[in-house]
Amino acid sequence: MQTKLLFTLPIAAVGAAAALHATAYLHGEAKNHLPRFWAFFLATLASMLAVVYAPGKISFLLAWEAMGLSSAGLVAFENTEKTVRRATWIYLLACHAGACALMLAGVFLNSPDAFLAAFFCAIVGFGLKIGFPPFHVWLPEAHPAAPAPASAVMSGAMIPLGFYGLLNFFWPVSTVVPYNTTAGLTLIALGVAGAIGGILFALPQVNLKKLLAFSSVENMGVIAMGLGLALVANSRDGGSLFSEIYVLSFTGALVHVMNHALLKGALFLGAGSILRQTGTLDQDRLGGLMKRMPFTGTLFTLNALGLAGLPPLNGFLGELLIYTAGFLAVRSGSPLLVAAGFTVLAALAFTGGLAAAAYCKAIGATFLGEPRSKAAADAIETPKRMWIAQLALFLGSVAMIPGTIFIVHKFANGIGEATLLTAATIGGALVLMTAALVGLRRFLCPRGAVKPQCPTWDCGYHEPTARMAYTATAFTQPLADLFAFALRPRKHLIPFKGHPAAPTDAALVTETDDRALAGFWRPLFTFFARAFQRAHLLQSGSLHLYILLILITVVVLLVAAFAS
């Protein structure tokens, strides 16, 4: 019941905020498109609720399919774009493949000794929604394609429903302890791959929504790590320490679900506001929006801070729970758990560092510095309700701080609760301290804090332009180069024109595609499509061949009949 409530909250919160945002977001759309959006939007919300409250397996499956279909309608909203068409296709395939895997999982679940097979099917089925690598391919395609309120709902509330499914159908774990180790390690492995892979690919993206989509992969990875650690701890029987690890990491994962829902929802709405006001999501063409859209910018910054898991916001508390569980695991003495603990600690830390880098880049390139295009320079603040929607979600995440403490108080007293309380207090202290220092500074130089006086120092160069500022691509280039073996960025140089002494228009363009799509799924699909196309020769139109086929088949059948 509590998990039901926990997964209902994001749907309600993000759904309401996204709806509010959408009323303004869709303002410019043609009138006759609006009913389509709202129909699919409401259907998506309704089917998500149906998923949560489905009474049985079949009704769950039906609601699950309905959720996929109705959200596909949202992805396909801008139906004339070619990229949207591709995204819709990929998304639909992901949904359908997921449903197929779930059907199989359900079948496996019926036979008592096939629990692990059922679990792996469910991992594939739910993983296609959650976005475990390499099943995450639809996320970076569908999110940029969908209207922002839809992406917010899909990323914030819909994706984690995969975890809801896993919890609902595979979490009476105590009954199947022998499998918990394998299941837990699988989740940890997927979580580590998802978290690090997701954030690594988020880093070099120039499309803001693509960056956010990859970051969703990362966050789902973090949640999976928490759940996996909980499972592994659960499989080591006995001892209050193990149950403490279990409770802490489990709670941490669930708290992270909430945080991700609220904050990522808000970030997608922010991205939507930017798209609406500037017409682009290309970070290399944005910049300087903090001055032009102060509310959107401030909220985006705060939400990003929360999602990067930094104190004092609630994003940190969820990760802290998992960290604490990781520390406990490390000292538990059970070799497997120690190894799992170290892995989770290192991976979570690395992810945290990279996430901070990615969000710094997103904020810096989008909101700070000088605008890099006319569209960005001409942008103005959105209508009030658009940023109020984001503000509401942000406040929700702040309100989650006492909520988190309450949850932990209820389930995990002892280390967890004390740690969490300290962290929350310290968070408050940080805010107060900052306020004090800002006050001090204002006191020391009242004038400077109010009015800017001079251009940016640029080494004595007199006319700093936006073209000279660090771009989003440049900012992440060192990290992207460092991980080039995994990211495989495509770089192409646009050679300069004109005289070598006064070159113009030269540019270095770097694009980082999703490796799972470009390196695995696309070749796989192409391979099969080619092979199938070759097989089309059988239907070449030759009547002789057709009849020969019939003849041969009859002969083979006769042989089979005589043989059997």
Binding site: R441, Q453, A469, Y470, L479
Partner: protein, 300 residues
């Protein structure tokens, strides 16, 4: 008592860059700027105004304050001793994540100016810190194993001296790893050279090119405090429970901090800054060293 040691630490912080610089001057055969140079600098800066770029926004205004506040709060968490710290249940993760918050805002403040140099510095900063994070947490995991405690005050030095006789090798590996982190995080040679004054070659200094007055003072003081914090962390984790009582440990702690500063000075005197491209490789090596230390401890 705790408050007193914290205040002592806060007062002591600006001394450390002085010690480093004096050590370097000693090795170079110069007279040096003096041990208390930073105190004078801070006092001077606090009286100045802070001009600000027309490009920048409120983020630039609050970045130094947030950064210093985060470092200061982290310093409050640290068990300066004697006895348990003020926050007995402060997590080590919280400690390092507070530093992370500070860095987040420093980087945003740098990007806020729209300057290419500051962007470059910020880019390098986030790159190196992302690589440092996993090392830090492997070391923390090791400390949890060593002390059996998951909180920062318990984790630091709350273990038997016997560990040094049985696991000296692991401890040394971990110490080396943490010292490397200390150099990297505080932008010291060989990772960064705060004294080249060439914008292209710096990390931290490049990020604060546009800051002046009290802002700069905040930043400089914050950097010194962070240096002290990490040095203290290093010392505290190496010193086990002492039989002569917690007061003695506090004395050892502060002595150790000063010694670390001297050590940093020596390191800066004998090696040169390496190329930025080499840094990831070194950090990867450090991760290996830390992991090796942890693994050896667990296995033997």
């Amino acid at each position: 008592m705790n408050i007193l040691t914290f205040l002592l630490a806060a007062l002591l912080a600006p001394l450390l860059p002085g010690i480093v610089n004096q050590t370097k001057a000693f090795f170079a055969g110069r007279r040096g700027p003096g041990l208390f140079r930073l105190y004078f600098d801070l006092a001077k800066l606090m009286r100045k105004s802070c001009p600000r770029s027309t490009t920048s926004t409120w983020l630039f205004d609050i970045a130094p304050s947030v950064s210093l506040a985060a470092t200061a709060i982290a310093a409050m968490l640290f068990p300066w001793g004697p006895g348990q710290g003020t926050f007995a249940h402060a997590s080590a993760a919280l400690f390092f994540y507070l530093l992370g918050t500070g860095r987040f805002f420093t980087v945003l403040g740098a990007l806020d100016t729209g300057s290419a140099f500051e962007g470059m510095g910020a880019s390098r900063e986030v790159q190196f810190s992302a690589l440092v994070e996993p090392i830090v947490f492997v070391i923390l995991g090791f400390l949890v194993c060593l002390s059996g405690d998951v909180n920062l005050p318990g984790m630091l030095g709350d273990y038997d001296g016997g560990a040094w006789t049985h696991h000296a090798f692991s401890l040394i590996l971990i110490a080396v790893a943490f010292f490397t982190i200390l150099l990297c995080e505080n932008c010291r040679v060989p990772f960064d050279d705060p004294e080249t004054h060439l914008e292209l070659t710096m990390i931290h200094e490049a990020m604060i090119l546009d800051n002046a007055g009290p802002d700069l003072a905040f930043i400089l003081y914050g950097a010194a405090l962070k240096f002290e914090l990490l040095a203290a962390f290093l010392v505290a984790m190496l010193v086990p429970k002492l039989s002569i009582g917690p007061e003695a440990k506090t004395v050892v702690l502060f002595g150790g901090i000063l010694a670390t500063a001297v050590l940093v000075g020596i390191v800066e005197s004998v090696i040169a800054r390496m190329r930025f491209l080499k840094t990831p490789q070194v950090l990867l090596g450090t991760l290996m060293v830390a992991t090796l230390g942890a693994v050896l401890y667990i296995l033997f």
